[in-house]
Every structure is written in C-alpha cells, then in structure tokens.
C-alpha cells in the first residue's frame, strides 16, 4: 500500500535528523497503543513525510502534513525514518 517505504535511503531515528532535513517515517514504536491512535490522527504514520523544523532542549518541532508538531525527544527516538537521498527542489 505504501510504495515509498521501499525507498532506499539512510535509516535513522527521527531525533538524529538535522534541522531542516526531510525524511519518510518507516516505523513508529509507541509503547502505549492509545497513543498510537493519536499519533496517526496527527499525521505521524509510516509513509508520512516529516521535516525537522527546530530542535529545542528536550523537544523537537516537526513539520508533518503542513502542520507543526512539538514532541519530546525521547518519543522521537522511537520513530524510525529514512532520509531522502536527493535534495528537495523546493
């Protein structure tokens, strides 16, 4: 269903991205299932594109689906992403 998952790229944790970098989410490991539903509703799902907007002490600000989302770095450690090889044209 999500063909872009096959995209070959460097795999790393969301929190390891540099500010301004874009990546595709591969897996979201949320221990609490109730939280997963909320993650999906906010757009943090495998296959979604995320951009690290800013890094704050203990927190990250992401851009997902054109919206900005702030979350704890320790949650971002559990989100696996694949960095895009090519530079975005825009």
């Amino acid at each position: 269903m999500q063909g872009e998952l096959a995209l070959m790229g460097e795999t790393l944790n969301l929190s390891e991205l540099m500010v301004g970098e874009q990546a595709t989410i591969l897996a979201v490991a949320v221990p609490d299932k109730k939280l997963l539903s909320r993650f999906l509703g906010i757009g943090l799902s495998p296959g979604s594109k995320v951009k690290l907007y800013e890094r704050l002490p203990g927190q990250l600000v992401l851009e997902v689906e054109g919206r900005k989302i702030a979350l704890d770095s320790f949650i971002a450690d559990k989100i696996l992403v694949s960095k895009e090889d090519r530079k975005k044209a825009d």
Partner: protein
C-alpha cells in the same frame, strides 16, 4: 465534530450566529457546546464537540467525544475536515464511517489549500467515503447554504447509513468475524465497528465480550499479528492516505514568498531567545489588563454599587437587615466590580491568544520551564487561566491525567495570584508602599505558590508524561468566537465566585454586628506580636482569610 483547529467553532458560529443560545454541557470543562438555531426554517440544536485527533480514549477530550458520538443521541454528525491536512483528517473520518452513524463531511480551508497549489476533487472524495461532502468557508459563508439544506433534510433521510467497510487483511478479518459472533446482543453502533474497537483495545467494547479477548482469538491470528491493534490502525491510516492522494492534486507554485507566519515562528520557536519573546508577550498582557482594568474598574464599581443601593431602597429594608445586607452587598459589589473588569479583560486577551495560534507557541515555550519545576507540562493553560480567576483554572485541571498532577498544579494556585488579587497588589500596595513593594509582593506570592506545589510533591510523585502538541497555523481570530469563549470562562467566575463573595460578606457583617470579630481575633493577637505585626495587621489578615474562604 472534527480535529483540533479544523474550524468547528467558526462553523457553529457561522451557522447559529448571534441568535444562538450557547450553553455549556454541564460537568466537564472539555465541554460540548450547544447552540439552538433555525436552518431553512427547521429548528435544530447544534452541538460542538471538543477537537480530537481520533476516536480513542487516551485523553479526556477523546473520551467525552467518543462517548457522545457512540451514544447516538443526535440525528446527524457533521465532520469538519481541514483540507490542508486531509490525510490525517481522513483517519478520523474513516473511523466515523466505520461506525455507521449518519455523517456529512464538511471541508474547510479549501481556499487556503488552493493558495498552496492543492486542489481537491470533491466528487471523488464523496464516492470514496460514501457520504455527502460539501466544501465551505465559515468566514465568507461559502457552502453554508448547501450544508444547511442537507442538515434540515436529515429527518427525511434514513437514520442508518451504510457503514464504510475497510478491508483488513485475511487474518484480521478472521479475528473480526470471531469477535463479531461473541459480542453481546445489542450495541449502539454497527457491530463490525464494535468488534474492531474491541480488537483495538477499547475496554468499553471488550467488556461486551463474554470471555477475555486473548482466549477468543484464533492461534494463527495471534501468530501473524502479535500487535493486532497496531496493524488495524495502520491499515486504516493507509486507507486514509490512499484516498487523500487520489482526491488531491498538487501543483507546485513557484516563487511563493515566505509568509509572515513563518517569520513569526522563526522567532517564537527559536531555541535561544524564543522564551524571552513569549514571556514578554505575557507581561504585555498583564500590563494591558492592569491599564484597561483600572480604566473599567471605576465604572463597574459605580454601577454595581448603584445596583445595591437600588436593591436596598426598593426592598425598603430597615434596621439590622439593611445594615447587614447593605454592608455585605456593598463590600461584595466593589469586589465584584473590580474583579469583573480584570477577569473579563484577561479572558478576552487569553482567548485572542488562543484563536490566533499564539497560545500554543507560549505553551511550548513554558512547558519546558514547568517540567523543570516537576509540574505536568499540560498544566500551562490551567496555570494561565489561574492568572484570571482560580475557579475556572481548577476546573481546567481536569485535562490533566491523574489526581497527582492535578494536586501539584492546583497547589500553585494557593500562591499565584489571580487577576483580582493582582489588581489589589498592584493598586493598593503600589499606591501605599511603592511599586517596588508591589512587584516584590507579587513575586513572593508566585514563589510561595511554587513552593507549596513543591511541598505537595513530597506526597505525590508525578511521572513525566509524553508530550505531543500541535502548533496550529496562525489565523485571524473571529471576534464572535473570542466573545463566546471569554464568556464561557467568565461563567465560572460569575456563578461560583460572586455568590461566595456575597455569602462571605453577609456572614462577615453578621459577625461584626454580633461582636464576634473581636472575640475571634483576640487569641490571634499574640501570634501577630510574635511575628512583629501590628494588631491592625492581624485584623486585616483575618479579614483577608475570611474573604478568601
């Protein structure tokens, strides 16, 4: 209903307008707002639910909304979806479609999307979802007529709508069939949805099963899906993603200027100085509150006093009754006059911050500060409400996860002054003792609140909770929304605090009349001497204690 910041309140206001009687759903702060109006000459009641990202029960907002939606005490659900983030919006829409409740999808921010080069095929979306889809703009009124027509005709529509069936993989479908047959006889919603919810871990639906879910699932399913609930949710999201991609057409617009909002965020979310800007905003708000409040205060005090005089003369009260009641009411009236001015202004400013999107940036910036103080990070909003008035702030602590978090937060309210106390500190202390003393008093009260919370932390431990906060796009606030929201927050003050003040005033004047005050104070005077306070100060602190109770 819809996701946070999708435009639910704007739609409610656009549909119901000024004629609407907006009232709170009693009992909760994360309320359902009700409004009555006529659409196409049909009387309807519109209910605005709290914004939720999905039908789940992780937060109180979600539980309140889920319960209401599944209770089926309505004719139709209008699901408002923000087109600029269609994919995730459709996740909630798909859940609603799986329940089989009567549904209309209203698309908001279509113009905003097209400015970004995103166009949407409404017919395709309507086909994919199997329900009516209407594009609208609550600000300009586009599409409202079409929506009103649909709503007013629902009575003639059939009440059951064919639910959307998302095809899960064979193992999940097998599990669904198994659970489906084991469900208790009657559910308010479509049975397949109930089975899904049970599989997804919803306790409410698991309780409908005769046996523990683990015993009911076929071994093979467990083997292939060690994490069944996750696989269901991800399939649903995949479905939302596919529908969204099929219905949306993106053309890139070249030479798009970096909008003002981006530049604003670069400053407000800056890791270095962002918090200074946010703090300055708050200080500016207090400054405006004190200046405007001071201006309004004289007028509102005069008005409330005149009202009391009118009550006394028109009831032609004499003697003890006039004394006691008159004193009490006059005292209360001046308090109310002062407080009304400040509390109202504070809440109007706070609602403005909220509706422009600035508040969430401030919450983000302060949340780090709160976690350093071991306070729950979701407590920023209740704590800001407390600067206005403590009563709505206490009810707002319901959004916190547990008693411990609530206790830690409300403990700060003991010290941190509300707007009427701020007015008194800044007014009285500043004019009698000087501005330095006033600021010092102010800071000491805040510190004492934080200290008190710290002490309460010795008894209750607060586990750090995962923090997930959306920073919505900046938007021009609708004045009507701001007015309604401020009024709802004011209601706590008007309905709870004012009667208490009047009651306190009556009791106090009665005690004064009976000579009980001196009697009660006398044992406290030695304590005052020990603290090197003049006896008058004891009298004062006694009065303050009593008034505050």
């Amino acid at each position: 209903m819809g996701q946070p910041n999708s435009g639910k309140s704007s739609l409610l206001n656009a549909l119901a307008g000024a004629k609407a009687i907006v009232s709170n759903y009693p009992g909760t702060t994360v309320e359902l707002t009700r409004a009555q109006t006529y659409l196409e000459r049909v009387k309807v009641e519109i209910i605005d639910t709290p914004g939720i990202y999905s039908l789940s029960d992780a937060t109180l907002e979600e539980r309140v909304t889920k319960e209401y939606i599944l209770e089926r005490d309505y004719d139709l659900v209008v699901n408002i979806v923000d087109v600029t983030s269609l994919e995730r919006g459709l996740y909630l829409t798909l859940q609603l479609r799986e329940t089989g409740i009567p549904l209309i999808v209203a698309l908001n921010f279509v113009e905003d999307a097209s400015k970004k080069g995103v166009s949407i095929n409404i017919n395709k979306l309507s086909d994919a979802l199997g329900v009516h889809v209407v594009a609208l703009n609550p600000l300009t009124g586009t599409g409202l007529k079409a929506l009103s027509l649909m709503i007013s005709k629902t009575e003639s529509l059939q009440t059951e709508v064919k639910p959307l069936i998302i095809q899960y993989d064979d193992h999940i479908e097998e599990a669904l069939k198994e659970i489906f047959s084991k469900l208790a006889a009657k559910t308010n919603v479509y049975r397949r949805f109930a089975a899904l919810r049970a599989l997804e871990g919803d306790e409410e639906f698991r309780n409908l099963l005769k046996d523990a879910i683990d015993n009911l699932l076929p071994e093979e399913v467990k083997q292939y899906h060690p994490d069944l609930s996750e696989d269901i949710m991800l399939t649903r999201y995949g479905c939302a993603s596919v529908i969204s991609k099929r219905c949306i057409n993106v053309t890139s617009i070249k030479g798009l200027k970096e909008p003002l909002s981006e530049r604003l965020d670069r400053v407000l979310i800056n890791p270095g100085y962002g918090w200074i800007i946010c703090l300055s905003t708050i200080i500016a708000i207090f400054y405006i509150m004190l200046v405007l409040g001071g201006f309004l205060q004289d007028k509102s005090v005069e008005a409330t006093k005149a009202m009391v005089d009118w009550i006394i003369t028109s009831w032609s009260l004499k003697g003890v009754a006039a004394d006691v009641l008159g004193n009490a009411l006059r005292g209360a009236a001046s308090g109310i006059g002062i407080a009304l001015a400040y509390v109202l202004i504070f809440y109007i400013l706070l609602s403005l911050l909220e509706d422009t999107g600035l508040l969430s940036r401030i919450v983000l910036s302060f949340s780090r500060f709160l976690s350093k103080l071991d306070l729950p990070r979701n407590a920023v909003v209740p704590m800001m409400l407390n600067f206005g008035c403590t009563v709505p702030a206490i009810s707002a602590t319901r959004i916190l996860r547990n008693r411990g978090e609530r206790l830690r937060t409300t403990a700060t309210f003991v010290g941190v002054p509300c707007s009427s106390r701020t007015a008194i500190i800044m007014g009285l202390v500043a004019s009698y003792a000087g501005i330095h003393y006033a600021v010092a008093t102010y800071l000491i009260t805040i510190l004492s609140g934080l200290l008190f919370s710290k002490i309460s932390g010795l008894f209750v431990k607060v586990e750090p909770s995962p923090f997930l906060l959306e920073l919505p796009p900046y938007r021009k606030p609708l004045l009507q929304n701001v007015a309604v929201k401020s009024w709802i927050r004011m209601q706590d003050f008007v309905k709870v605090v004012i009667p208490l003040w009047i009651f306190g005033g009556v009791v106090y004047s009665l005690m004064e009349y009976l000579g009980l005050v001196d009697f009660l104070i006398s044992p406290l005077i030695p304590l005052g001497l020990w603290l090197r306070l003049p006896p008058k100060a004891v009298y004062l602190s006694y009065m303050v204690t009593f008034r505050r109770i």
